[in-house]
Amino acid sequence: MTPSEGARAGTGRELEMLDSLLALGGLVLLRDSVEWEGRSLLKALVKKSALCGEQVHILGCEVSEEEFREGFDSDINNRLVYHDFFRDPLNWSKTEEAFPGGPLGALRAMCKRTDPVPVTIALDSLSWLLLRLPCTTLCQALHAVSHQDSCPGDSSSVGKVSVLGLLHEELHGPGPVGALSSLAQTEVTLGGTTGQASAHILCRRPRQRPTDQTQWFSILPDFSLDLQEGLSVESQPYSDPHIPPVDPTTHLTFNLHLSKKEREARDSLILPFQFSSEKQQALLRPRPGQATSHIFYEPDAYDDLDQEDPDDDLDI
């Protein structure tokens, strides 16, 4: 069994969650917070991509390479291409070991590839880049990288690109986060209650309405996913095999359905305020016996027809 077949042989629901996150391609935004960290989910997605045979590039800015690779077995580690921007991202040591152009240069270089192999790029973290680069530059670079496969020209030769970006929500204002969110095909917001993590997944498929669902999960030490029932949206409907389902529409004291005759009678009924041609004729035809109507009034002696004070109760 090849590793990619082994990956697909996992539990059906586990495949659903990770596959649905990776299937769309484009930018996948992982929004985490101090309480609910997202790096483990990022590593789970990286492991899944590597097992599916994709080329995986990691832009590591926040943690060391050893720490990122920790927990992966050697099979997966050999498939990861790690770009280390942790040791000297700003070139303070004045050696030219670092990639010229820094992390942004590395990201832009990935736009120029021409392989047909699908590729996954993991940004650890997008927050690190967003704090040090102008938001517009970063968004343009992300758009260029994640939409390579949809540009008309080389669309046949370039494989699907997925960009996984880890974003720490508390560090940025609503503007940059909103801009990245509008670029993203999929957004995963991590949260949870005590002891149980949840992911709220928002998918924007092209030409379809965005779908969202909440999935409760936990990540095992080898970075595979364990889905929990919890409050999952797609949980099974409750049905107890020993009690037959009761039909509530039996034994009613009122009629829920109409017979055919009743339906016809209902349909032929004219509504009182509906303006039909008969009504129009009735209005236009003068009524017999009453051409006009008049009100005859004889004012009394004490009657004060004062238009300004008809009730005679103002003290003017």
């Binding site: 926040e62 700003l90 704090l131 030490p221």
Partner: protein
Amino acid sequence: MFVELNNLLNTTPDRAEQGKLTLLCDAKTDGSFLVHHFLSFYLKANCKVCFVALIQSFSHYSIVGQKLGVSLTMARERGQLVFLEGLKSAVDVVFQAQKEPHPLQFLREANAGNLKPLFEFVREALKPIDSGEARWTYPVLLVDDLSVLLSLGMGAVAVLDFIHYCRATVCWELKGNMVVLVHDSGDAEDEENDILLNGLSHQSHLILRAEGLATGFCRDVHGQLRILWRRPSQPTVHRDQSFTYQYKIQDKSVSFFAKGMSPAVL
């Protein structure tokens, strides 16, 4: 060091973990007792300590250290402690001509971009000496505190870069530890401080947060301490767990108890 705090953190000077960043923050109270704890803890663990003290003078820490059983003067003399006294050397930066860049060089410059001189001071202080014999167990960097750097004109990203480089050198390369203190402004609209605090929180392995009581000042309970473990070494144990204890600071120790279980009310 406070023995009760060691018990809560499940650590002793002999078997402390290495390569970790501990973030101390305080909100509406003074969290400096945690700094004194870690200073004496790591000196007792026989570590090489670099202390960037920007808030208080050397004698202040020395007096408190004596109550906790360590002598900072002797530690400095034998080379275990490298002490940057911010209050004194800030004056040197302004009034004395320096040939080499001073660690607090940013005070002189109008548009100080980064804290590279300070990082180089730390790296120089903690680099292992090739004398053949390892005198000290592992290096430790203590900073008290980072919020004052924001007040002195550095941007939050510059301070985060400084901590990033310190992490890369002290925690990753030299397998040492770091302890930094940041004040939490709470309700005040200090965006730079929030970015610094949240950015550091995401990078830390352990966060100790000293908070004042919501109900105000109390004679018997000085505050509460929240302990949050992030990124533990074993993923299944203590994953993102948080504990809260209340404490009372006494002359030479700090006593911790569960919420509502202060000896004064029992």
